[in-house]
């Protein structure tokens, strides 16, 4: 059995259920619990649900300290760019603690960050900056594309004994989808085949999954069978599922809203080039954002970002198809 809820509600559902299950789960962030009617505040009280000032560095650092002491904080950071203010805390403090203490301490915490608000929010608010964090040892990075995965990955994130960066996409927040009833945990490091196909493998992350599925659908109408794989977590990254798909299709196109040189696509391309080279019948192709800041103006914003049309074009080139007549 399942129920249909928006992506954002699925995330909230996971946090609520984990808070009910485990009273060591704390929840804090800016603008939270500002009214006594706030459902989390009402249910869990002001000790566990806290509003923070604009102090990202201390917010994440306090979460780390509480995590070391056995709590499981979830910190809501809103825009991913705001956590850049606290880069040391995200990258170089809690993430190192377990290893450098020879495992004496662990840091079970979740940082929730929104990305990709490509609706004229301009250079400082629209980036897809998850790629910057996937190479940080000790840090796990989740990037759900559907309500079900959003819930399942959040559940797993809260239960994980490591710092987890949970990236939610702002343009997906209101997208509805089926979420399994009852407890629902999606394991980290297990990719999901969002659409099966045999001619070409498309791997997409987060918001780009929607773009990839749109392209796959329009290609299907032309008789082209495209497989769409969503890694769901980019650290750890499930390379095996991608490799076995490429072994069947021989063609790989990577779709990612991040800038090309800071993209998950670039990392996957390297893995497949090294481990799956003999399967490839054509060069790997990357459809990413250009290596540029995102402009405020709509046409320039769109120009910089990947879209269905660009994906279809890359697929056509990989398979040597004639372009669809306009």
């Amino acid at each position: 059995m399942s129920h249909v809820i928006p992506y954002i509600a699925a995330i909230q559902e996971a946090i609520r259920e984990e808070m009910e299950r485990d009273d060591r789960v704390l929840y804090f962030g800016q603008n939270m619990a500002t009214s006594p009617e706030d459902p989390f505040l009402k249910q869990f009280g002001p000790d566990r649900v806290r509003v923070t000032p604009i102090s990202e560095t201390a917010e994440i650092g306090i979460a780390t300290g509480a995590a070391v002491a056995g709590y499981r904080p979830v910190v809501e950071l809103y825009m991913a760019e705001f956590l850049l203010v606290a880069t040391d805390q995200v990258v170089n403090e809690g993430t190192r603690f377990h290893f450098m203490s020879k495992g004496q301490v662990s840091v079970p915490m979740v940082m929730v960050a929104g990305y990709g608000f490509t609706a004229g929010w301009a250079g400082q608010h629209t980036g897809s900056i998850y790629g910057m964090f996937m190479g940080v040892p000790g840090l796990k990075v989740a990037l759900p594309s559907t309500p079900a995965d959003a819930k399942g990955l959040m559940t797993t994130a809260i239960r994980d004994d490591n710092p987890v960066l949970f990236f939610q996409n702002y343009l997906l927040l209101l997208d509805e989808g089926e979420v399994p009833d009852g407890e629902h945990a999606v394991p980290f490091g297990v990719a999901d085949v969002k659409r099966a196909g045999s001619d070409l493998t498309l791997v997409a992350t987060g918001y780009a999954v929607r773009t990839a599925l749109g392209a796959a659908e329009s290609l299907a109408r032309r008789g082209v069978s495209v497989e769409v794989i969503d890694p769901r977590t980019i650290a750890p990254l499930d390379v095996d599922t991608i490799l076995s798909s490429v072994a069947r299709t021989g063609h790989l196109v990577l779709v990612d809203q991040a800038t090309r040189h800071s993209s998950v696509a670039a990392v996957i391309a390297a893995e497949v080039a090294e481990l799956g080279f003999s399967s490839l019948e054509a060069p790997i192709s990357l459809v990413t954002a250009l290596d540029s800041s995102i402009a405020y103006s709509k046409p320039v914003e769109e120009f910089v970002l990947p879209d269905e049309h660009k994906v279809v074009k890359a697929v056509e080139e990989s398979l040597g198809l004639a372009p669809a007549s306009a």
């Binding site: 800016q30 603008n31 500002t34 009214s35 509003v51 923070t52 000032p53 604009i54 102090s55 560095t57 201390a58 760019e81 705001f82 850049l84 203010v85 609706a119 004229g120 929010w121 301009a122 250079g123 400082q124 608010h125 250009l290 290596d291 540029s292 800041s293 402009a295 405020y296 103006s297 709509k298 046409p299 320039v300 120009f303 910089v304």
Partner: protein
Amino acid sequence: MAGGAAGDPGSGGGLDAAVAERLLETMWRIRAFEERLEPLKRSSMVLGLTHLSIGQEAVAAGVCTQLRDDEPVYSNHRANGHALAKGVDMGRLLAELMGRAEGCCRGLGGSMHVVDVAHGFLGATGVVGGNLPFAVGSALAGRLLGQDRPAVVFFGDGAAQTGIFAETLNLASLWQVPVVLVCENNGFAEFTPRSAHTRVERVSDLAAPFRVPAATVDGNDVAQVHAAFAHALALARAGSGPFLLECLTHRLSGHYVGDPGGYRAAVEDEAWRARDPIERLVRQAAAAGWFDAERSRAAEAAARDEVEAAVAFAASSPFPDLGLPAELTYAR
């Protein structure tokens, strides 16, 4: 035009008829512009996030009209008033907010990133506190160049809780840099009241431990803002260290256009409406014999005409060239 009569020796920041009229006009231009912005945003002519400063106009006017073009102002996400008062052309500002090629940043920056170097408007930031130290650096550069060119940065009370604020205050004091930090304390950061963010009563209370002189004024009284800033500016131009000016005010609209506003039940909008900075100036002017309500209506009408001309200019401006990302990602 950003040069100001109030900067003249002898005015001492006190208002006279000419200065008062200039402040009146500036406040009306901001008010009329932002009132027009709201429907433009709702009809998607204006993109992204639109943070209005309706109710806070006295701070922008009282500060920026006293500065020369070569005295830089840094702003935050709530930037329209600061930009207009500092001399940014209204048509180019609106074209920017509409993402057009003739915008002051060719549509690349948008509402949180307005920059107009010619008028000393060194821009806004969308990251709270992100540019506080820029103003210190600007003022330091002015000092190194041997110029009496202090810098100003606007920030909200929410920014005082960031780490960068303390770092900025300390360095500005340590190096005795001529910077004026202007806080618009409107009691809220997004949807959260100040009381939920800090136990510090006044932002100016944070200055003393760093040995930075500070003042708190009624930010809805443009005469008070003007006088206090004139004092701070005179010190800075004479080469003294930093000054923190806190202006107590209130934004009469949401954090951004379209914000759900539930949190505002707690807000005393009506009491603040009675302290509308424009109406207060008109009352003061009448009492002092500077001008009457008729003059205010004329200033309002002129401002609304200017806004309509700006809308026409911006709406007819083309969208930017798609070559800009390649051209402007790096300086050459």
